[in-house]
C-alpha cells in the first residue's frame, strides 16, 4: 500500500541527508556555531627621552561585514541602509566591500572611526543588517598634535600593492601601517601582531567559550619606542622658529642623540590616523610652503660660510695652510679674468686662519681652497658627513651634494674648473646639505673627530616581556690623525667671542660657545642685479638667501650642538637666527642645568653680518 512506500521515501531522504551529504551539513553546522574573532594588538606607543607619551592609541569603532554571514540577495538592501546611516553613497560601501578580498569567514573592514550615533543606529537595526558587525579597534593619536609631527610621521591604511610585498605578508586589508617618520621606520617594532581565536556562538550571535581548535593565537602588542627627543626643548624650538620656515636641530655631540628636530611649517598627524579627508589632504598638498616636508632632512641648501670650517680643516690636514699662514683681503680677488668679491667690500686686511674664520672672510678661504684643491676639500667634507644621507631613522632623507672632479665628469662630462673650487670653498657652487648633515658635521668638530649617525630612537620595550632593548650610538668614522682641532675650535670660538666675530651677538654668560654663521645664496648676486634688484629688501621672498647658524658649547667640553636654518631668511631672518639660537640655548641650559632661571638681559648691538 501507500504507507510503506512513503515510509521508505522518508528513510531514503534521511539517508541522503545524514549519510550521503553528511560532510556538507556538518560543515554548515560547524560554521554556524563558530565565529572568527580577531584580538587587536595595540600599536606601540612612542615616548620622548623623559617618558612623555608622544603617540598613543585610543579605542574607536569600525564597521565590518563578514561574507559568509552576508546573504547575497539582501546585499543591496544592506548597502543602502548602511549608506543612509553613515551618510555616504551606498556605492562606495559596495565598492569597498568588493575591493577587499578576504576568506569568507573573515570580516572585511568597511570603515573606521564610527560616530557614537552611527554605532547606536547600526546596533539597533541589527536584524536588517545580516553579516554586519562593529568591532572596537585602536586608532593612533598624537596628543601634542603638530609638535614633532615630521619626526613622528603619520599612519595610514595599508594599500593593496603593499599587501602583496613580502614585508607586509602578515598584514591584512584594513590594517594600519606607518606612512612616514618614526611610524614608518619603526613599523617592525610598533606594529603588534593581532591574535585570533574561534569562539562558539549561539543563534543570536552571543559569544560563548573559546574553541581549543583551531588553537587561539595571542595578540602581541607593539613595542614602546623611546626617542632621544626632549619634548620640552622640541616645543620651545618649534615656537622660537615661528613665523619662519626652516629647521632647528639640537644634538648631543658626544653620542649623536637628537634632542630636538623642528621643522616649520608643520601639520597635524592626527588627520591621517583615521584616513584623511580629501578636503584636508588638498589643503596640505596645495599649501605652497609644503608642510609635509621635513626641512631638517629633506631641504637641501648651500651651507654657505658654515662650510668654511670644512675648507679650513681640509687645508690644515693637507698642510697647505698652517696656523701661521696669512693672506691679505682687499675686498676683491682676481682669478683668471674673474673677479671674486668678499662680502665685506672694503676688505679685511691681513688675516690668519683664526681671524679669517672670525670675520668669515671670503678672500682668505678662496685662496686656502684653491691651494688645497677640490678633491681634498670634497673628501674632507664627506668625512664630515656632507653630501650623503646621515642614516637618521626617518623616511625620505635627502643626500645633498658634494661636487668634485668625478661628479662633474659623470654629471656634465666636463672638466673641473679651478674657479669652481673658489665657490665651493665658501659653501656655494653646487654644495648642498641638509640641516641634519650640518648638525652631524658640527658634532664631529665638537667631539674632535667622531662622526655619529644621528640617533633618534634610544631603544624600545617589548610589551609582553617588558624587556627593554637599547640602541648603541652609531659611530660612522673617526679622525685620529688630525692634529689641529685646537686651531679649528679656537677659530670657531672666535666667531662668537671675537670683537669682529660674525656671531658675537650670541655671546652668552652661561657658557662658552663656538660656531659658524652662513648665508646661502639662492641665486647669485649678479643675477639679482641683472634682474634689477638693487636693495636686498626688494628681492622676492623665494629668492632671498637662507640663513644658517651652527655651533656647539661649552667649548672645552661640548654638550650641545645647535643648528638653526632659516629658509629665505633675507636680511631680517639673518638677524633673527641669532635670537632663535640664543633662545634655544637658554632653553637647553634651563632644561639640563638645575637651578638655572633663565638668561640675564644681554646688551648687544644689532648688527647684520655674514
Amino acid at each position: 500500500m501507500l504507507f510503506p512506500i512513503v515510509l521508505l521515501l522518508l528513510i531514503i531522504r534521511l539517508f541522503n541527508l545524514q549519510v550521503v551529504h553528511y560532510e556538507t551539513y556538518a560543515e554548515k553546522a560547524h560554521s554556524n556555531r563558530t565565529r572568527y574573532v580577531r584580538d587587536r594588538a595595540p600599536r606601540g606607543r612612542i615616548i620622548d627621552r623623559n617618558g612623555v607619551l608622544l603617540a598613543a592609541t585610543k579605542p574607536s569603532f569600525s564597521l565590518y561585514i563578514t561574507p559568509e554571514d552576508f546573504p547575497f540577495e539582501r546585499r543591496e538592501q544592506v548597502f543602502d541602509r548602511l549608506g543612509r546611516i553613515l551618510n555616504v553613497p551606498a556605492e562606495s560601501i559596495k565598492k569597498r566591500y568588493s575591493d577587499t578580498q578576504t576568506a569568507s569567514f573573515r570580516p572585511r573592514k568597511i570603515t573606521g572611526n564610527l560616530t557614537h550615533e552611527s554605532v547606536v543606529r547600526i546596533e539597533s537595526s541589527r536584524y536588517h543588517l545580516p553579516g554586519v558587525s562593529i568591532e572596537a579597534e585602536y586608532v593612533r593619536s598624537y596628543p601634542f598634535k603638530n609638535t614633532l609631527c615630521h619626526v613622528l610621521g603619520y599612519v595610514g591604511e595599508i594599500s593593496r600593492a603593499e599587501l602583496q610585498t613580502d614585508t607586509f605578508r602578515h598584514y591584512r586589508m584594513g590594517d594600519v601601517i606607518g606612512r612616514s617618520g618614526i611610524e614608518r621606520t619603526m613599523e617592525h617594532l610598533l606594529n603588534g601582531r593581532d591574535g585570533y581565536r574561534w569562539v562558539e556562538v549561539d543563534a543570536t550571535g552571543r559569544q560563548g567559550f573559546t574553541l581549543r581548535y583551531p588553537e587561539p593565537v595571542q595578540a602581541i602588542p607593539g613595542s614602546e619606542v623611546q626617542l632621544t627627543i626632549n619634548l620640552e626643548l622640541q616645543k620651545a624650538c618649534e615656537s622660537f622658529l615661528e613665523p619662519w620656515k626652516g629647521s632647528i636641530i639640537v644634538m648631543d655631540p658626544q653620542n649623536g642623540d637628537i634632542l630636538a628636530m623642528a621643522s616649520r611649517p608643520e601639520f597635524d598627524p592626527n588627520l591621517f590616523a583615521t584616513g584623511i579627508t580629501s578636503a584636508d589632504w588638498n589643503l596640505i598638498i596645495n599649501c605652497p610652503d609644503n608642510p609635509l616636508l621635513n626641512r631638517a632632512i629633506q631641504f637641501e641648501a648651500p651651507p654657505g660660510s658654515v662650510f668654511k670650517a670644512i675648507t679650513a680643516i681640509a687645508a690644515m690636514k693637507t698642510g697647505d695652510v698652517t696656523s701661521n699662514s696669512s693672506y691679505t683681503c682687499a675686498g676683491v680677488f682676481n682669478f683668471s679674468n674673474n673677479r671674486f668679491h668678499c662680502w665685506h667690500r672694503p676688505g679685511h686686511g691681513n688675516l690668519n686662519l683664526i681671524s679669517a674664520m672670525e670675520c668669515s672672510c671670503n678672500i682668505f678661504f678662496y685662496q686656502a681652497g684653491l691651494k688645497t684643491g677640490i678633491d681634498k676639500i670634497a673628501s674632507t667634507a664627506r668625512d664630515f658627513g656632507l653630501g650623503a644621507i646621515t642614516g637618521i631613522p626617518l623616511t625620505g632623507e635627502k643626500p645633498g651634494l658634494m661636487p668634485d672632479r668625478d661628479w662633474k665628469r659623470r654629471a656634465f662630462n666636463d672638466d673641473w674648473w679651478p674657479g669652481e673650487t673658489i665657490s665651493v670653498s665658501i659653501g656655494q657652487g653646487g654644495v648642498i646639505t641638509t640641516p641634519t648633515q650640518i648638525a652631524t658635521m658640527m658634532s664631529k668638530i665638537a667631539n674632535r673627530g667622531t662622526l655619529y649617525k644621528p640617533r633618534l630612537v634610544s631603544g624600545y620595550t617589548e610589551q609582553a616581556s617588558r624587556n627593554t632593548i637599547l640602541f648603541e650610538p652609531g659611530i660612522k668614522s673617526n679622525m685620529p690623525d688630525f692634529k689641529h682641532w685646537d686651531t679649528i675650535i679656537d677659530s670657531l670660538e672666535k666667531v662668537v667671542k671675537g670683537s669682529r666675530g660674525t656671531a658675537r651677538r650670541l655671546r652668552m654668560r652661561e657658557m662658552t660657545l663656538a660656531g659658524k654663521t652662513g648665508t646661502a645664496q639662492v641665486i647669485s648676486l649678479n643675477a639679482l642685479q641683472r634682474m634689477g634688484y638693487d636693495s636686498e629688501d626688494d628681492v622676492p621672498v623665494h629668492w632671498r638667501s637662507h640663513g644658517w647658524f651652527a655651533g656647539f658649547g661649552p667649548v672645552d667640553n661640548p654638550e650641545v650642538v645647535i643648528v638653526v636654518f632659516i629658509e629665505n631668511a633675507g636680511k631680517e631672518g639673518g638677524r633673527e637666527k641669532f635670537t632663535i639660537a640664543r633662545n634655544v640655548l637658554h632653553k637647553w641650559y634651563e632644561l639640563t642645568k638645575p637651578g638655572y632661571f633663565g638668561p640675564e638681559p644681554d646688551m648687544m648691538e644689532d648688527l647684520y653680518d655674514n
Binding site: 515510509l7 553528511y22 553546522a29 549561539d202 543563534a203
Partner: protein
Amino acid sequence: MTIRRYLEQFDFILFMTIMLITGAGLMTIFSINGDDPALNDFQKQIIWVGLSLVLLLGIQFADYHTVIRRLTPLLYGCVIFLLIYLIVRGQLESGVRRWIQIPFVNLRIQPSEFAKVFTVLMLARHMERWAGKKPGLMQMGIPCLIVGVPLVLIAKQPDLGTAMVLPLVMITMIFAAGFRVKTLMILGLCAVVSGFLVGRSVLKPYQVQRITAFINPEADPLGAGYQVIQSKIAVGSGGISGKGFQRGSQSHLKFLPVQNTDFIFAVWAEERGFLGSFFLLVMYGLLVARILKAARKSQNYFAVYTCIGIMSIFFSQIIINIGMVTGLMPVTGLPLPLMSYGGSGCLASFLALGIVFNIGIRSFPSY
C-alpha cells in the same frame, strides 16, 4: 476469566512501540532542557505521560462499542463548542487562539488535538451506517460536514497544520470504506478548488511566505527559509551515529527553531544520527502497522473505521512533520505524535491509542 482473555488479546508489541517512541521524546526534551535548569518541560512532560498512561489503561474498562460509541456525539459536540469558544473568546497568544486556560489550575488545553480524535469517532459512527456498501457522491454530504466544521474552526485559529490533517483522515477513511472512481475524482476536484480559494483568501502572509520558502529556502535564509535550512543542517550534521546526547550544536545553540515541539525530530536526528532516525521511523512504521492489525481483526464497521481514522491521524502527522523537518514539505507547524512536548497532544494520542487497544482486546478471533 474475562480479564485473562482481554490480556491475551492486549497488543504488547504496540504498547512497547508506544513506550519506546515516548521514551525517545522524553529523552530529547530532557536533552534540550539540560541547558536551562529553569525550564521544567521535562518534568511536566513526565507528568503528562503518566496521566496519559493512566488514561490509556483506564479506558480499557469501558467497552468501546457500548460506552465510547454512544458518547461520541457528546464528545464531538463538546470539542466543537470549545473550538467555537476559542474563536469567540479565546486569548490571542503570539498571533493565534489555540489554547484554553483551565480555571484555578495552571493548565492549558489545546482542543484541536482532541478534535482530531473525536472527529474520527464521529465519522466512524456515521460511516458504519453504510454497512460496507460503497458510498455514492450523495452520501458525502454528512462526512464533509462532520469534518468541515472543526476544519474551518481550527483553520480560523489559525492552525493550518492541524486543519490539514482532517481532510487527509477523511479521504483515508472513505478510501478504506471502498469508493467509486467518480466519487473520489469529484472529491479531489473539490479539494483542489477549495484549496485554491482558501489559499487566495484565508492564507496569512506568513503562511504564503512559508510555502515560498519551501519552494526555495535559500531565497531568504534569515527569514522564512531559516527554519528549514537550520533543520536540514541539524539533521544532516548528525551523520550516521549522531553527535551524542546533549551534544547537538544546532539545537543547544538555538539555531534550530521550536525544538521541543515541531522540530523535535531534528534534535533527535542530530544527536542520534541516521541510526536513531531510522530506528524511530521503524518504530512509527510498527505503530501504524499494529493499529492496522487491530483494524483487521476487529468485528464491526465502527471499530474498523475508527482504527483506520486513528492510523491516518498518526500517519499523516508523521509524514508531514518529518517531511517538514527534512525539507520535503513546507513548514506547517505540526507536532510529531508521541515525541513532541505538549500535554494535550500527549493525552489525545494516548486516548486514541487507548481506543485502539480497547478495540483490540475486545476483538476475539472466531473460534
